[in-house]
Symmetry: C2
């Protein structure tokens, strides 16, 4: 039987063997929610890069560039980290370069060893789950967290994936059980469950409650971003 | 207001500033449960060491030596990692040297920077909580986990401490909220909640169900082990 596991922080990724695994990277607030939204609205590809400098270089080469640090847009870039910025017809068919505090770093960390890296958010939960049901590999859900620390929203998403796949995969490890039970506890009122989370407070301070509610919606889009080489494209 | 936070794995300790914190180290199955039991039964001091070699050196110097790796006693040592081994009148007034897979390593990691390191288990939960209520520092509960991975039982204990102190401390970080809510979800049937955990399965394979039930009992002993220099003694 295939295994499904959860890594609560990229700083714990070294503990996981992922050379037989599909890694689902998630950063609910807001990197992977932005990516899914962008593809749903017609973006052609997204290159996730770890540093602001690399992102700048790609911008100079003609990419639309999105850089976020500490939940805010970095000066001189084209897009911020709100999913609503990705609902823009000027981006249709476009190529985006993106760097964020946590999400793109997690993708960089996973891509060397994993069988495949896909991008997950509540917005494309069913697309992620359906894809995983029909493949032969183990699964690791990698939570981007916040600067190395586990967070509630990514843990909830990881739990949603485990919960949906628990009959087809072996749920062996405590992090996966913890995430699944947390999701089961919270699923009927995720916004309420997250009310006191550190990142919700950080984002509310920036006045983006609209983003929060948006990112917690299930299955808005049937798109599955997957990493091919250094580029995310639709599967 | 003082802060209380939780570190779900010693591999994440580098993310926490603990120079104004009391660190509560917990390793429910079974290192810190053994320590609390030992002190309750009259042990005078316990030196936690990180390696089997250091433990052997102290044994040769006359200490009663306890070494566990992968949940089993290492050959040539005096005590295994069952709390029932510490209910022995030959240990009254004795000095013990101890090394375990996760628990003693966590103590070693925390001791350099923390204001104070104390040892917590369900067996002395009230003693830990009462001590923390009456001091001016921040608190970090450090879960020993299993070889760097978070586990359910230590997370539950961390949540029990946060839950008991939530009116007197600021619960700011997601790991602390996650642990507290997990404890609230599980507290009426911790054994049931843990039924599928990885370490429970590991221990059950070794036939030590008795240890598991024992370690999940609250407030059996009013003792608080605290690190003084390199030695744990009763506060």
């Amino acid at each position: 039987m295939k295994n499904i596991d959860v890594c609560l922080s990229p700083d714990l990724l070294h503990l996981h063997k992922i050379n037989n695994s599909i890694v689902v990277v998630t950063d609910i607030f807001r990197a992977t929610s932005c990516m899914v939204t962008g593809f749903a609205y017609g973006v052609k590809s997204i290159i996730p890069v770890a540093s602001v400098e690399e992102c700048k270089t790609l911008q100079n080469m003609g990419y639309v560039a999105a850089a976020e640090r500490d939940a805010q847009k970095v000066e001189g870039f084209d897009l911020d980290n709100s999913p609503f910025s990705y609902m823009d017809e000027r981006l249709i068919g476009g190529k985006i370069a993106m760097t964020t505090t946590n999400g793109t770093l997690s993708i960089s960390k996973a891509k060397t060893d994993a069988v495949k890296v896909i991008v997950g958010a509540f917005l494309n939960l069913a697309a992620v789950v359906n894809h995983l049901k029909n493949q032969p590999y183990d699964v690791l859900v990698l939570c981007a967290g916040w600067k190395g620390r586990p967070n509630l929203e990514d843990t909830l998403f990881a739990g949603a994936v485990v919960d949906a796949l628990k009959d087809e995969y072996f749920v062996a490890e405590d992090s996966a059980i913890l995430a699944m039970r947390t999701y089961q506890q919270a699923k009927n009122d995720m916004l309420g469950y997250l009310a006191n989370s550190s990142h919700i407070r950080r984002l509310q301070g920036l006045g983006i409650n609209k983003d929060i509610s948006y990112c917690l919606q299930n299955d808005l889009y049937d798109v599955l971003p997957v990493l091919r080489g250094n580029e995310l494209v639709i599967h």
